[in-house]
């Protein structure tokens, strides 16, 4: 057994820190907070130029041939500084999906520029009436010659305002069984009939409702087979599962530690109080566990063991630990922790306040905790299904 990430990954860590420090400014963080758009085109292109978006892919495909531990470090370091890369994440999920299911033309015109940071793709699974039960999508696509006509509404189409495409899950055969009548498309956001309405969130990030009124999409933008969309979407969803929020806990902990170590006017330091120490220790312990569960899933993936339940374990544990840690760490500062500041990239108690709000959504997107617990129970432990299916 070996728990080190290797010298190459540690070298990359240094490189990523320098890259981020050079490019991230108060201006970028101010804009992120003001607009709720966690994306910066220049930052994304600079990542793309380094082959850091599809870091694990070979250079010939726009990546940089990074090992899984290097990819882990890259994600971890970008997460710690709250880099404006949420759209890079959604784009990469679909680039990887296109690599599996895309046509040669889609790979050339969409996937290739996507991994260079030149094309942005948002996710269109959820609808006003369906979220965890993604296959219940009702947005309709009807064939008309070489085109498809799309009508419906998607909820939580985060980053659609900067996206070139929405990866859309639609119903093409309402008579087939629920999972067998779905098809996926890449819908250009410039299409007539496509519209966006902003939805602001408690965490600060902006999301959207996107509406599709007789939107016409060429058949060349269909991904995968007609009525075979669930296979495509399920693969894309599985790519999204996993990952760890251990870095978010560590950032919050570092901030809390720095402030708890400051003496007050009487010379007392919060960090010398036993109950404060217990909470700091718990955050450190749970950050360590979060990171280990994430690394295990990465290691399994890299060694050809499909980490289905293990990815879910990392996601559900680390996101819930993130919320717990933020709550505990805010408590340490009492009413002082009420103060709301910019938070992001600030190294202030306000950053923990921001993370406290933000952490709630980490337990919802990319599969709710409940969905992941069912995956662990059924996929990893052999328990019977707990979800009814039609």
């Amino acid at each position: 057994m070996d728990f080190t990430l290797g010298p190459e990954a540690e070298a990359l860590r240094k490189e990523v820190r320098e890259f981020a420090a050079e490019r991230l400014s108060d201006e970028i963080y101010d804009r992120m907070v003001e607009t709720g758009t966690y994306y910066d085109a220049d930052f994304a292109r600079a990542m793309g130029q380094r082959g850091w978006i599809a870091a694990g892919w070979p250079e010939a495909e726009g990546g940089s041939g990074r090992t899984w531990t290097e990819q882990n470090v890259l994600g971890d370091e970008m997460g710690r500084v709250e880099a404006p890369i949420d759209a890079v994440g959604t784009t990469m999920l679909i680039a990887a999906t296109l690599r599996m299911f895309g046509t040669p033309e889609q790979k050339e015109t969409i996937m290739k520029p996507a991994v260079k940071g030149e094309v942005v793709i948002a996710l269109g699974y959820s609808e006003p009436g369906s979220g965890s039960d993604a296959a219940a999508a009702r947005t309709r696509a009807v064939r008309d010659g070489d085109e498809w006509v799309i009508n419906g509404e998607k909820m939580f189409t985060t980053l659609a305002q900067v996206a070139d495409y929405v990866f859309l899950l639609t119903r093409t055969n309402p008579d087939a069984k629920k999972h067998r009548g779905l098809t996926t498309f890449l819908v250009p956001t410039t299409s007539p009939g496509f519209s966006i309405s902003a939805v602001r969130t408690m965490g600060g990030e902006r999301t959207n409702i996107t509406t599709y009124e007789d939107v016409r999409v060429p058949d060349s933008l269909r991904v995968g087979d007609v009525d075979g969309g669930w296979g495509v979407a399920a693969a894309a969803l599985e790519l999204e599962h996993g990952g760890s929020y251990g870095g978010g806990i560590e950032t919050s902990l570092e901030v809390a530690l720095a402030h708890a170590a400051q003496p007050d006017e009487d010379g007392h330091r919060l960090i010398d109080d036993p109950s404060v120490r217990a909470r700091l220790a718990r955050a450190a312990m749970e950050a360590e566990v979060s990171s280990l569960l994430g690394l295990r899933a990465g290691w399994m993936q890299a060694t050809g063991q499909r980490p289905l339940a293990e990815g879910s374990m990392a996601k559900v544990y680390s996101s819930e630990a993130f919320s717990r840690a933020c709550s505990d760490l805010l408590d340490i500062f009492g009413p002082e922790a009420l103060r709301r500041t910019r938070g992001m990239g600030e190294h202030s108690v306000g950053q923990i306040e921001h993370n406290y709000r933000h952490s709630q959504v980490t337990r919802i997107y990319a599969g709710t905790s409940e969905i992941h617990r069912s995956i662990i129970a059924e996929g990893g432990m052999g328990l019977p299904r707990t979800r009814r299916s039609e």
Binding site: M1, G6, A278, M285, E370, M381
Partner: protein
């Protein structure tokens, strides 16, 4: 680079102990040992034949030169089978005797290895001539303990062993006039405290094994037991809590193995990691077995079902270490140093 796979040697080691416990440590053996003061002499003899006590000693000290990580893997099995043997105590105590390096310690180590009798150490300093709640104190011929700034060996006294929650062989011992001083001074005390920390980490590995086995028992029971026409595991309140238990215990297992690996590699964080490993294992094992016992309904409360063995043993193993809240504070001490004016808790 990062790798969680066991080596071939580790696979063989695990297979050897798993085979032994499958054959000679079924729940009836565990129940019988509860009647016999929490110890099975027959199983202890088998452990000796497998080289259990000396496996992680340096070859120069008569051992097999295995790593602490190897011991942690075996400790997980001790927990999984509730094996009534003081293996983790004996390993930590003999490794301490080897690391003290004094003539007295080396001579005692040679005696202990030759006799094969259980040896232990205790996390609680002597108060006057009393050693309270010594782990494995009922069966250990030799207790390595701390008295002030001396590391001593106690033997030949009469253990006072109370009936207890987990039917553990825990006992009070007495430091006699003939107690042997093995080493003294700050370096000796530091070596002693490190050995106790190794024992805490290994106790964590034991709890991980017991916790994971508890979850397996829970999976089997809730899949078989029907209510309202369906297996009770098809209710999310049960399935999801089992999933949470398994997740936390997987995390505890990774942490426990990392801590042992870090100690072997002499990574500076090994102390913090070992302490964390104990706390994480304690919390997640207790939560898991508490819920699985509950999922058994009234049956879990009866002595006939094995889950109560795990329920009592898990809490008892942790209590033998100390107060959980203090143990968490100790994590902070190892990461950030103790607050001004006091040593590590």
């Amino acid at each position: 680079m990062f790798d969680l796979a066991l080596t071939d040697e580790q696979d063989q080691l695990v297979a050897a102990y798993q085979g032994l416990f499958e054959r000679e440590c079924d729940p009836e053996v565990v129940r019988q040992a509860e009647e016999d003061g929490g110890f099975s002499a027959a199983l202890w003899a088998r452990i000796g034949e497998l080289g259990g006590v000396d496996m992680a000693l340096p070859e120069t000290a008569g051992g097999a030169g295995a790593q602490l990580l190897d011991v942690a893997l075996v400790a997980e099995l001790v927990g999984r089978y509730l094996a009534p043997v003081p293996l983790v105590e004996a390993v930590a105590a003999t490794r301490l005797l080897a690391s003290l390096g004094t003539d007295a310690a080396s001579a005692l180590l040679a005696d202990v290895l030759a006799s094969g009798a259980p040896v232990t150490l205790t996390p609680r300093k002597a108060v006057g001539d009393e050693l309270r709640w010594v782990p494995a104190g009922r069966v250990a011929e030799v207790v390595v303990a701390r008295q002030g700034d001396r590391v001593i060996a106690v033997s030949g006294d009469q253990p006072v062993a109370p009936s207890n929650l987990g039917a553990l062989p825990v006992a009070d011992r007495r430091v006699g006039a003939d107690a042997l001083t093995l080493a003294e001074g700050p370096a000796a005390v530091a070596a002693f405290e490190d050995a106790v920390l190794e024992w805490r980490g290994l106790t964590g590995a034991t709890l991980v094994g017991a916790g994971l086995r508890s979850v397996e028992i829970g999976v089997a029971y809730t899949t078989e037991r029907h209510a309202f026409g369906v297996p009770i595991a098809s209710f999310q309140t049960i399935a999801h809590r089992l999933a949470d238990s398994r997740t936390a215990l997987d995390g505890a297992q990774l942490l426990s193995r990392k801590a042992a690996w870090a100690a072997d590699a002499n990574e500076p964080r090994w102390r913090a990691l070992s302490q964390m490993a104990f706390v994480m294992a304690d919390e997640s094992a207790e939560k898991a077995v508490d819920e699985v016992l509950h999922f058994h309904g009234g049956y879990g409360f009866t002595l006939e079902y094995d889950i109560q063995l795990y329920f009592r043993r898990i809490k008892a193993w942790a209590l033998q270490v100390g107060d959980r809240a203090k143990e968490l504070e100790r994590v902070a001490d190892y990461i950030w140093g103790p607050p001004p004016g006091r040593a590590v808790a």
